[in-house]
């Protein structure tokens, strides 16, 4: 009889677990409010995007998206808990509900958007694959890489795009795939591979982590489109909108000249109706998103507008010194464009 009882107990437990497994609209927002923090999946250490500083606080452009969401939902940008994930672990972590959102330099592709139960909310950074080589090899173009051994991070679009590039150019290569970017970098330094390939932003970040950064050079070719953005689970439109509009709020703020320094003054006395709507001084646009009236004010005050976030983490104000390029606003020659708040 004891066996029957315990079997019944297991059955009951499984039923409860199974029933709670559905993603429902609003479920993530309620969960985040209840637990009091946003559980955010980030990279396992990529300078400029998500990396812990000397005090253990995470820094980077991907981290700032998580902080923005926390500021909008909970009114406090510091209420984020981070889960460092390797490229291989990331999708399972978001699918299974281990993290509430993924902000981890992840490329937006059709199969990831449609076939994995996930949705991308936007593009935080327009990137493309490049090559990092030792100057000693005397290579000046990716076309000269026939027969090269290439270090790649496992489970990335890079694996596929490098293969496409070499195939279409009739070149041969040997891939060596590692789980973490640190292992790839170590192997490049030991010259196990001739080339390290990854998104260009990552190459600049990994170059400064090498012992002798000046011995290495990033080749001019960019061989693919890699739009990087945050990811949420499919089926929860409310949470999807919140993460999407957090980025849009940052972009709209930059476009309107609202910064973390002037945001409070602007919220009170701006003459620009766009700014008044964005900052909640006019209308009830926060309510539509199930957010407080001052959601955008909190994001911009605590985290900053897109330009500030970019400069601080990867741009002129950082070690990486990456140009805005494609990531400039649409009216300044780039691709970053946000729909209006109205």
């Amino acid at each position: 009889m004891k066996m029957v009882k315990s079997t019944l107990a297991i059955l009951t437990a499984a039923t409860i677990l199974g029933a709670s497994g559905f993603a429902q609209a609003g479920a993530t927002l309620d969960k985040v409010k209840k637990q009091g923090f946003v559980q955010c999946g980030v990279s396992d250490g990529l300078p400029g995007f998500s990396v812990p500083d000397a005090k253990g606080n995470y820094q980077g452009i991907d981290v700032d998206i998580c902080r923005g969401v926390a500021a909008a939902v909970l009114g406090d940008a510091s209420k984020v808990k981070y889960s460092p994930l390797t490229a291989k672990e990331r999708f399972t972590a978001i699918q299974s509900g281990e993290v509430d959102m993924l902000s981890r330099n992840t490329t937006w592709t059709s199969s990831r958007d449609a076939g994995m139960g996930l949705v991308f909310t936007g593009v935080t950074y327009y990137d493309g694959i490049g090559f990092l080589v030792n100057k000693k090899l005397g290579v000046s173009s990716a076309k000269e890489l026939d027969g090269a051994t290439i270090c790649i991070q496992a489970g990335t679009t890079t694996e596929l795009n490098v293969s496409d590039y070499f195939r279409s150019n009739g070149l041969k290569y040997t891939p060596i795939t590692f789980d973490t970017s640190d292992e790839s970098a170590k192997s490049l330094e030991a010259s196990r591979c001739d080339v390290l390939t990854s998104d260009q932003s990552q190459l600049y970040a990994q170059r400064i982590k090498l012992a002798q950064p000046n011995d290495y050079v990033v080749l001019p070719e960019v061989i693919s489109k890699e739009p990087l953005g945050p990811v949420v689970r499919k089926g929860d439109e409310e949470w999807f909108s919140i993460v999407k509009w957090t980025l849009f709020a940052m972009l709209n703020a930059e476009e309107a000249g609202v910064t973390s320094k002037n945001v409070e003054a602007e919220a009170k006395g701006s003459k620009n109706p766009d700014v008044l709507r964005l900052l909640g001084a006019d209308g009830e646009y926060g309510k539509d998103l199930k957010l407080p009236k001052d959601w955008a004010v909190q994001i911009i005050k605590q985290v900053g507008n897109y330009g500030e976030v970019f400069d601080r983490n990867v741009g002129a104000g950082s070690e990486l010194k990456i140009e805005r390029g494609l990531n400039a606003l649409w009216n300044k020659g780039g691709l970053q464009y946000a729909p209006p708040v109205r």
């Binding site: 499984a14 027969g147 489970g155 196990r192």
Partner: protein, 392 residues
Amino acid sequence: MQNQIGTSRSFSLSDPRFRAWLFQIITLVAVVSMGWFLFDNTQTNLQHRGITSGFGFLENSAGFGIAQHLISYTESDTYARVFVIGLLNTLLVSAIGIVFATLLGFILGVARLSSNWMVSKLATVYIETFRNIPPLLQILFWYFAVLLPLPGPRNSLNIADSFFLSNRGLYMPEGHTADGFVAFVVAVLLAIVGTVLMVRWANKRFEATGVPFHKFWAGLAIMVLIPAISVLAFGSPFHWVAPALKGFNFVGGWVMIPELLALTIALTAYTAAFIAEIVRSGIKSVSHGQTEAAHSLGLRNGPTLRKVIIPQALRVIIPPLTSQYLNLAKNSSLAAGIGYPDMVSLFAGTVLNQTGQAIEVIAITMSVYLAISISISLLMNWYNKRIALIER
């Protein structure tokens, strides 16, 4: 009265036989319905979240490169082929590891029992060092600390212009079949048949007359002489192509990539330490009286060990040895740490990530390890039965 209760078919709970059956059936129904429930629940949830499921992805083209493949592979091949490549790479490292770990383990186990102080202490130090360091650390050590600091391909260690050791791996000459190849294969087959016949004849004569025959030396002579005659008469079976430096790396020749080298060395060294202890315990389990008895019959040390001690020790050695083989095969999944394209790193890593079908991929991978382990177990159990002491 008692007899009646035993034979009658009463459907009452007080009948122990009926009760036993009832509980069996209830448990079976519970287990099956729980399995069905879990399966159905997973399917519903996957569908609800829009996650693709099923095994159709195996037919899609993979689109990424692989560093080491034992069968031909291009990027346009399917995920199913990637699966086979991963499986073969796992089997390759397991097989090499099992062979070398057994050899090294037996040598170390016997060495530890040696009466030579130096030999036995060296074996002790080896065993205590290697079995007390986690295998992943050993793999990382061999890879990052020993093999990667080797010189690059342009400054590689050159052995007779045919073997090149660099941090790109060990390059060896590649054999291409030549004119004498068919004759050579026939000669080797003939030699094997000849050796078997010779052993049979020698055993028969030994049983009948008690006169021993030098089976080993005669067999060696047959195995060397017949193929040698074929080479002299019909020409060499292979012509060897040495690897040559071209562009970034060597071209041509066979290569053992450093990931495979590091993994093999580490797994061999680690498992050999355990096997040595198993061998030692096996030999120790045979009482010293057996040695004395063999000596008093006039057997020397060598035949005593081969004919008396080892056959009895094997009965103790084989069961735990099986566990060590299983451990080695399973530890090979640590390959992911150094980028060796094995089953876990290639299939449960890259393929899982490119397709996002975690449940299917993990289920396949687990079944594969289960199948490998069960095969090793069955083989070793069969061998164990063969050598077990036949008791009346």
